[in-house]
């Protein structure tokens, strides 16, 4: 293993995060605060509790998931697309690094950034509502796994994007709607039966549900199904990246 190479990519990416620390952290903190104002105060005054949990506290895991998913994707996609755009990718391709090592460096950094942001959101949420974490290890398991999985997904976008606009299409048109419709701010049990069945087709529902279980021991679907879903997406991303790399990752051909 080229550990120095992996470390170089990881530190290089984290350095970019440090340089833009204010923007990187300010945006999720402001967004989270706005969600609390809009959902927590405005809607929360009408919906006091869901499954016995205060509404403001109930939406915390969903908000964290929303940020983790979008941040993991955007960090990883930008991190790999940017050197393609500036042509500095030549150096990574010419270095004695395997495909796995390249992915490890980029995805590791993107997932780390998301984890930091996730922790900052948990702290921010504490200023607005009581946040209880019944299963901290399970919460970290879901947080880490989701960060890695969606950083891999972002890496795929970074490999395939043809322009900066291409980096935004999937997060805006696919991920954000899926998170909003995946029970971030409500329980699917509140929906009519037909829409409950439709919601079960949304993979993000399983991530949010499992993650929420680690906080309050309440969930829309079983913990096993949630874990299986996230692992399936993870394996799917790994297989797709492996395939793309074997074909010269759209750069070397």
């Amino acid at each position: 293993m080229n550990w120095y190479g992996i470390k170089a990519i990881y530190i290089h990416e984290m350095e970019r995060f440090r340089r833009t620390l204010f923007q990187s952290l300010a945006s999720p903190i402001i967004t989270t605060s706005l969600y609390f104002v809009v959902f927590g105060s405005a809607i929360g005054s009408r919906i006091t509790e869901i499954d016995g949990i205060n509404y403001g506290s109930y939406i915390v895991p969903g908000m964290i998931m929303l940020t983790i998913l979008t941040q993991s994707i955007s960090n990883a996609s930008f991190a790999f697309y940017f050197p393609r755009f500036t042509n500095t990718i030549y150096e990574i391709l010419a270095a004695p690094l395997s495909s796995f090592e390249i992915v490890l460096g980029f995805v590791g950094a993107a997932a780390s950034k998301s984890l930091i942001i996730g922790c900052v959101i948990i702290l921010t949420a504490n200023f607005f509502v009581d946040v209880r974490i019944d299963h901290p290890l399970l919460m970290m398991f879901f947080l880490i796994l989701t960060s890695i999985t969606f950083a891999l997904f972002g890496f795929i976008i970074g490999m395939y994007a043809e322009g900066f606009e291409g980096l935004q299409i999937i997060p805006i048109l696919v991920i954000t709607p899926l998170v909003f419709l995946g029970g971030s701010f409500y329980s699917i049990n509140m929906l009519p039966e037909f829409w409950q069945k439709i919601s079960l087709l949304n993979p993000v529902l399983y991530l949010i549900s499992g993650f929420r279980y680690s906080f309050y021991e309440v969930s829309d679907v079983s913990l096993f199904t949630s874990t299986l879903t996230i692992l399936t997406i993870l394996i799917g991303c790994i297989l797709f990246i492996t395939y793309t790399f074997s074909k010269g990752y759209r750069i070397k051909d």
């Binding site: 080229n2 550990w3 120095y4 190479g5 470390k7 170089a8 990519i9 530190i11 290089h12 350095e15 970019r16 340089r19 500036t86 042509n87 500095t88 030549y90 150096e91 990574i92 391709l93 010419a94 270095a95 004695p96 690094l97 010269g248 070397k252 051909d253």
Partner: protein
């Protein structure tokens, strides 16, 4: 001297089925400076990028230090460095971080003393904390060289190293290249500037339309393919060319006082003695004589033209 690089029958197609390289065979000796010449789109960069692992090639084998670059990519890439043609750098990073990052990518333990020495050698030390965007074009090119040398490679590829740099900086770059070579680095450079190849290289290859059309020692090449022109300056202008001089294919300058006659160095007879005798027989007095040898550039243009004509015929 042993070969540090062996390229055998390398063929490369791009996705749109354009053949970029066709059965390229080339051996590079350890310690030499090798110039790869060719017009735009001839395949120079594709060949370098194939060797460095930046693009995949479709057929053939490439060996560095007798090791296959695909099977033993970790070992071969560790001893290879590349300076790209474009100024591809991260604008917001400092010089210091940029160069150390490159060393890390190539699997080398941090060595701040070496990087300091390298930056000093390339006159970049006082700019180490500057961001790349604050540097001039020439300095950026030096940073690219520093990055390529950060892991102490034995084989260095310079893809158009002095493209769009001023004359003064070009000479500086040449000094850097000569120094590196003196320190034991084998250098392969692609260039548009024949003057650069003439100044630096030990051997030259000409590539056109993805094929290597010639490989030779620079001096031999100039000698082998070079034409010489003898210029005979007379005291009086030539009025009558129907005399003994009529049998020569010569040209006269505007004053009709300078006779130019071109001959090939390889020819069995150069006719010079006879020409000088005939000048005398026709009653002209010689004021001065000088000879000019064709440059590598003229040879290069001639070769490319011949090759293109052959391609059209086929």
């Amino acid at each position: 001297m042993k070969n540090i690089l062996e390229i055998n029958n390398v063929t490369k197609f791009y996705k749109n089925s354009v053949k970029a390289l066709e059965n390229v065979n080339l051996n590079i000796k350890e310690g030499e400076i090798f110039a790869l010449l060719g017009p735009n789109g001839a395949g120079k960069s594709t060949l370098i990028n194939s060797i460095c692992g930046i693009v995949n090639f479709n057929k053939g084998t490439i060996k560095i230090n007798n090791m296959d670059i695909v099977k033993n990519y970790r070992t071969t890439r560790k001893i290879t460095g590349i300076v790209p043609q474009e100024l591809n750098l991260e604008s917001f990073e400092t010089v210091w971080n940029n160069v150390n990052y490159s060393r890390g990518l190539f699997g080398k333990k941090p060595n701040h003393n070496y990087i300091e020495k390298l930056l000093k050698q390339l006159s970049l030390w006082d700019k180490k904390d500057n961001k790349i965007k604050e540097l001039s074009g020439g300095m950026k090119r030096r940073v690219l060289i520093a990055k390529a040398l950060s892991h102490q490679p034995k084989l260095l590829f310079l893809d158009e190293p002095t493209a769009s740099v001023d004359v003064e900086l070009r000479k500086d770059m040449w000094d850097v290249v000569k120094k590196l070579n003196k320190d034991g680095v084998t250098i392969i450079l692609t260039t548009h500037y024949i003057e650069e190849a003439e100044e630096l290289s030990d051997r030259v290859a000409v590539i056109n339309d993805g094929k290597i059309i010639l490989v030779d020692d620079k001096d031999k090449l100039i000698k082998k393919l070079g034409e010489k022109t003898i210029k005979i300056e007379l005291f009086e202008s030539v009025e009558n060319i129907n005399g003994n001089l009529s049998k020569y294919n010569f040209t006269l300058d505007q004053t009709n006082k300078i006779i130019s006659h071109t001959y090939n160095l390889n020819s069995n007879t150069t006719d010079i003695t006879e020409l000088l005798n005939d000048v005398k027989k026709d009653g002209y007095k010689i004021k001065d004589i000088n000879t000019e040898q064709s440059s590598l550039e003229e040879i290069f243009i001639k070769l490319i033209q011949e090759n293109n004509n052959e391609l059209v015929r086929n």
